[in-house]
């Protein structure tokens, strides 16, 4: 089940998605054996408080969140978490954020070479920050500029997490591929809103939030597929995966690996179950490895 993805060798194709696994230290009962890797909660150079509550709202088969990238900043991450990651038997990528391309670059430089940090996932798709975030993700030039700024400051693998809130994800995918990305992660949350009918206003204090969970899965499979068709670098599929079958849809649609997110909130064993289920599927179908799984990936 091992896979090579964007400069990293993973022991399995299932990773923990950013923002759903904290810094890897919070969920003790999770079965770590099945983790192909982990992407840390999104971090900025400096500490951020995050948004005021309410921050989450459940919708049919979905979760709207506006956490606002609450986090301790780069120095605390290096001091408190990276030393723990250094001893783990799976790679940890740090989800990095900034308000300008140069700030992304500065953050990558600060974290580059720190033991325990195996690579970066550039977040150009967070819908819940006032500055940056999604702005970089829906403009191909801005997306490329951020990717380039990070690429110049590190030799570590650089993955770029794409937003679904674009007209043509292929355009953004090609732009960041040209700018030096090693892999793409598709996709981040959709921007959504839910209204409190007693208060006559949005249920989230930030007004809008990012929608995740099973509700977005078919949309995500389509967009990950579109991204995979547009580029030569690997694509990691994300969006509403809670069972092995969900992950297999992304894999057949052209992804080389997947990230499991919101499902972990509900079921701390979700990643292990998805991992084991993929192995069981390959077995049952008579495939000796993941590479033998048929892919549906006509090239543009």
């Amino acid at each position: 089940m091992s896979v090579a993805v964007g400069g990293l060798k993973l022991r399995g194709p299932v990773l923990a998605a950013s923002g759903t696994f904290g810094y890897g230290t919070e969920v003790p009962l999770l079965e770590r054996r099945a983790l192909g890797g982990m992407v840390s909660k999104g971090i900025f150079l400096r500490a951020r408080e995050g948004t005021a509550p309410p921050r989450i709202a459940e919708t049919p088969s979905g979760l709207l969140n506006a956490i606002g990238l609450q986090g301790p900043g780069a120095d605390a991450l290096v001091r408190d978490y990276a030393p723990q990651w250094a001893s783990w038997d799976f790679p940890v990528l740090v989800n990095i954020n900034g308000e300008s391309a140069s700030e992304y670059g500065e953050l990558a430089a600060r974290l580059d070479g720190v033991p325990g940090i195996a690579g970066f996932e550039i977040n150009i798709s967070c819908p819940n920050v006032e500055q940056g975030g999604l702005y970089f993700g829906n403009d191909p030039r801005a997306a490329a500029a951020v990717t380039e700024a990070v690429r110049k400051r590190t030799k570590l693998p650089v993955w770029v997490k794409l937003t679904p809130m674009v007209g043509d994800i292929g355009v953004i995918a090609r732009a960041v591929e040209s700018a030096g990305a090693d892999a793409l992660c598709a996709i981040n949350t959709f921007v959504g809103m839910s209204i409190d009918l007693n208060a006559y206003k949005p249920r989230l204090s930030f007004r809008t939030g990012g929608l995740s969970g099973p509700a977005i899965r078919p949309l995500a499979v389509h967009l990950a597929h579109q991204a995979a068709r547009a580029v030569r670098i690997p694509v990691i599929g994300i969006g509403g995966i809670s069972r092995a079958e969900d992950a297999l849809e992304f894999l057949v649609a052209g992804c080389v690996a997947v990230q499991v997110g919101t499902a972990t909130f509900v079921n701390p064993r979700a990643i292990a179950e998805v991992h084991d289920g993929i192995a069981g599927f390959l077995d049952a179908k008579g495939f000796s490895s993941l590479a033998d799984l048929p892919r549906y990936l006509p090239r543009d």
Binding site: F21, V27, P54, R55, I56, E58, N65, N198, A199, V266
Partner: protein, 240 residues
């Protein structure tokens, strides 16, 4: 108000007053639902609930023998100190204040406070007698209803006597009033809950000193004066 009893030996053995469990079940909503542990005895625990949305309605429709997935015990509970040490008296007075469903953690609090040698006064409030949970263990029990249909006509805070140690659970509006009168009170706040395990940061509690922490990890019990009550949503909207 209804009580659901579950066989959960590990939780029953280790749960502390004020801790909660996050329940999920087949065919249920996407997210688990958090419940304070109401009672723990031997291998079983109890939770109390009202039908506030589709999820709780499904729980209430369950039959004996049905299974739920129970994650817990979660959060930090009440710190029940020996109050006589604080008061310099032979037997300190512990005041429990519960409003509506805030009754949930109180039986365990009362048990532990009495075990610590305290004299327990339980002030028990609801909108009306009909919504009042009749379960209240204490050396003294005071009833309060907003409409005066049972006991004191008015709020639990207005009806409560003075005390050395105050422990409270109820709607955030009530807890804000507790904080005004007893800044040192320990209060269990109500927030929306995502994972319950500290990773989603959805249950943010705004703090007086600035920033937020997590009801599911650092909470749900706080020193009343530490919470920024004006920023904590007073009312939680369920449904959708």
């Amino acid at each position: 108000m209804f009580v659901i009893t579950m066989r959960a030996p590990d939780v029953a053995r280790s749960v502390r007053a004020g801790q909660f469990v996050n329940l999920g079940w087949a065919g249920g909503p996407l997210l688990r639902r958090p419940f304070s542990v109401y009672r723990a005895d031997g291998e079983v625990i109890e939770v109390v609930l009202k039908a506030v949305g589709a999820g709780t309605a499904q729980l209430l429709a369950m039959e004996p023998g049905d299974r739920v997935s129970c994650l817990g015990p979660l959060g930090r509970g009440f710190e029940i100190t020996a109050p006589h040490a604080l008061a310099g008296r032979a037997q300190g007075a512990v005041l429990l204040i519960s409003g509506g469903l805030g009754v949930a953690p109180m039986p365990l609090v009362a048990r532990d406070a009495r075990a610590a040698g305290a004299r327990v006064t339980w002030v028990h409030g609801a909108r009306s007698a009909q919504e009042l949970c009749t379960e209240a263990a204490g050396d003294e029990v005071i009833w309060a209803t907003d409409d005066g249909s049972r006991g004191f006509h008015g709020t639990v805070v207005a009806s409560a006597p003075d005390a050395d140690v105050v422990l409270a659970c109820g709607p955030n509006r009530m807890l804000a009033a507790v904080a005004e009168r007893w800044p040192e009170a320990q209060v269990a706040v109500e927030t929306y809950m995502g994972c319950g395990t500290g990773v989603c940061l959805g249950c943010a509690v705004p703090l007086e000193r600035g920033g937020y922490d997590r009801a599911c990890k650092e909470g749900p019990v706080y020193r009343a004066a530490d919470v920024n009550w004006s920023m904590l949503p007073a009312h939680l909207a369920y449904g959708a």
